[in-house]
């Protein structure tokens, strides 16, 4: 402890679990935006990752409540947020927003993969066949039904964009609405969170696309990477602008809290803010991605630079969450002192358990991809699969 800290503030209340939770919902929002870019805005270059990003969004969405349950003092009462939510609380919105958004993403996934599910049903026997039949809700692939699917998918993708924004934006609002904490209290906070969420989602998709192409031993679509990199650069610039604007504004206004916040940034958060979030997470990837976009035909360089930059971006966004959540609790509301934060390794909010939480969505994603592979059929030598053609009568 340095300076003066109120006696009740000696420990951080919102720890690493609250750093991981916005990170996960951010990845969801970002992945969904990529898929919606294809479905709603017709960015055809993104076709290879469109369905995959939907699965990614679903996998991360199903896990995002877990860090919250790990954090709650009384997780056995968490259902109360569904039953008796307080309408004036930003946090109470979580239950319903998350539930509705999960339904939407589930529905969109189901409609996107319905044809594949039915194909799999036809080619399997016994219990597996029953499983897929239930999954398809007993429907069939007629041209009209698939067209109906397509329209509904477009509607869902369009509706899903504001919903994804709300899902992650409410977290930003939750922080931005805490007037007691000058590091959090700003109207820009929902936007900052949302932009960094989209950035992390796109970066994740680049990384996963490259990895899965490597696993499947398939050539990486250069146009797809080019498009993803382009969108990432754009959103990264917007994200950086917003974050820089917030700090510039605080410095220019020099309110009472600036003294303690500038000390926070310059000393306590020097490593995690300037070097990692800004340097490693923003400047370096911007350079790398611009180079990646500029390298015309050399796919290896393009992919290498894009992947490396994406990893940097992902690390940078995680540290951005850390700087906001933990950083805001490192200084006292008396504006006269600081506390120390020790990274917990074990325990309910420790790094060990959170690493498991972060790998769970990837495991889920692998399971999903194994059940319904999201990539369009590559043309093979033996059969030429025509779209919408029934292989055998039902």
């Amino acid at each position: 402890m340095e300076g003066y800290v109120f006696p009740n503030e000696l420990h951080v209340i919102w720890g690493l679990t609250i750093v991981v939770y916005p990170y996960i919902t951010g990845l969801v929002a970002g992945a969904f935006i990529v898929s919606s870019l294809y479905h709603v805005f017709n960015v055809t270059a993104l076709k290879p990752v469109a369905r995959f990003s939907l699965l990614t969004a679903l996998a991360f969405l199903l896990i995002c409540a877990l860090p919250l349950l790990l954090h709650l003092g009384r997780p056995e009462r968490s259902y109360e947020m569904f039953l008796t939510p307080n309408p004036t609380s930003a946090m109470a919105g979580f239950g319903y927003i998350w539930a509705m958004y999960t339904i939407l993403v589930l529905l969109e996934n189901w409609l996107s993969f319905r044809k594949d599910i039915i194909e799999k049903e036809r080619h399997s026997k016994g219990l597996k066949r029953l499983f897929f039949r239930i999954l398809s809700l007993g429907s069939d692939t007629t041209e009209e039904s698939l067209e109906a699917d397509h329209r509904v998918i477009n509607v869902l993708a369009a509706v899903g964009i504001p919903m994804a924004c709300i899902l992650h934006g409410y977290v930003g609002f939750l922080f931005g609405g805490v007037k007691a904490n000058p590091w959090w209290s700003t109207p820009l906070m929902p936007l900052i969170f949302l932009m960094s969420a989209i950035v992390s989602g796109i970066a994740l998709l680049i990384l996963l696309y490259v990895i899965t192409c490597g696993i499947r031993k398939v050539e990486i679509d250069a146009e797809c990477i080019q498009s993803l990199v382009g969108w990432l650069i754009g959103f990264l610039i917007i994200d950086f602008t917003l974050e820089a604007l917030e700090i510039l504004s605080m410095y220019y206004e020099w309110e009472e809290s600036w003294e303690v916040i500038s000390h926070l940034l310059a000393h306590k958060l020097k490593l995690s803010f300037f070097y990692i979030q800004f340097g490693l997470g923003t400047l370096l990837p911007l350079a790398g991605l611009t180079l990646a976009k500029a390298t015309g035909d050399n796919l290896k360089w393009k992919v290498g630079l894009a992947t490396g930059s994406s990893i940097c971006v992902l690390v940078g966004v995680l540290f951005m969450r850390f700087n906001v959540v933990i950083g805001g609790q490192l200084f006292s509301k008396s504006l006269k002192g600081f506390i120390h934060f020790d990274l917990p390794m074990f325990g309910r909010e420790g790094i060990m358990i959170l690493t498991c939480v972060m790998t769970l969505p990837l495991i889920l994603l692998t399971v999903f991809c194994w059940i319904v592979p999201p990539w369009p059929e590559e043309p093979r030598a033996e059969t030429v699969a025509m779209p919408f053609e029934r292989a055998e009568p039902l």
């Binding site: 003092g73 007629t142 009209e144 805490v178």
Partner: protein
Amino acid sequence: MEREFTRRELGKELAKAVLQVGTPPALVLAVGPRIFPQVKERIEKLLPFLKGHEEPAHHLPPPLQEYEAAKHRYGFGVNTQVCIGCGRCVRACKLENHVPLEGFAYRTWVERYFVTEERRVYADSPTGGLESFPAKEEMPELKGASIKRSFFVPKLCNQCDNSPCTQVCPVGATFKTVDGIVLVDRSRCVGCGYCIQTCPYAARFKHPALHVADKCTWCYHRITRRLRPACVEACPRHARIFGDLSDPQSDIRNFLRQEDIYVLKEEMGTYPRCFYTGYRLGVT
């Protein structure tokens, strides 16, 4: 396959849909109230930890017969000019309200402020003032500084009229009573910590044993019986004043007749019910 609906067929389709969708909820509504009490009893028997930890009941007061909350409006006054920082109030509160002695949980605490000649303000509060205060020479920041003024400031929950904590509780477990006290429902608080983050006065904390939010209640269990809060009882200097604002003869109304009354962090718009007198520069 194109289907053209006649009006009648459309009506039949809609009716079928409503029946399909509406039957399960209707069943729940019809049968639910009858079986729910038994189900609840069963669950409560199987999972005792769901009821929350209960402290052993010892020397409970007799049940309060009639208490009309609407007739009271409580207020608190703090006179920083007479506080001597002895910390009896901190100890009294911990004993009265069974706040754990260790674990950095304080419902009330005492701070000491130093104002230097250049109007720099320093503060300290070792163990919240529970074991009183050491001499000022032990504070490293004050080496070489010339102190113009120093004084003690007791702090506690302000029971704000526009409290941010009641606004942000996701399950509505914390609320403001009609007589002006903000209480926490220990059986419904989920321990999310949002209220602790939004309190500008750092008056709230997470109870180390119960894992729910806790805070000073102005000893609600005492004031409703016309006793004084424990900290007011224990203060040897009348630095803490408690009373009913709706009673013109009360101590707090007398206190408020003074000239220089201020509240903490007025710019936050919380409308606190705790009023301070004394030197105010630098008091956060």
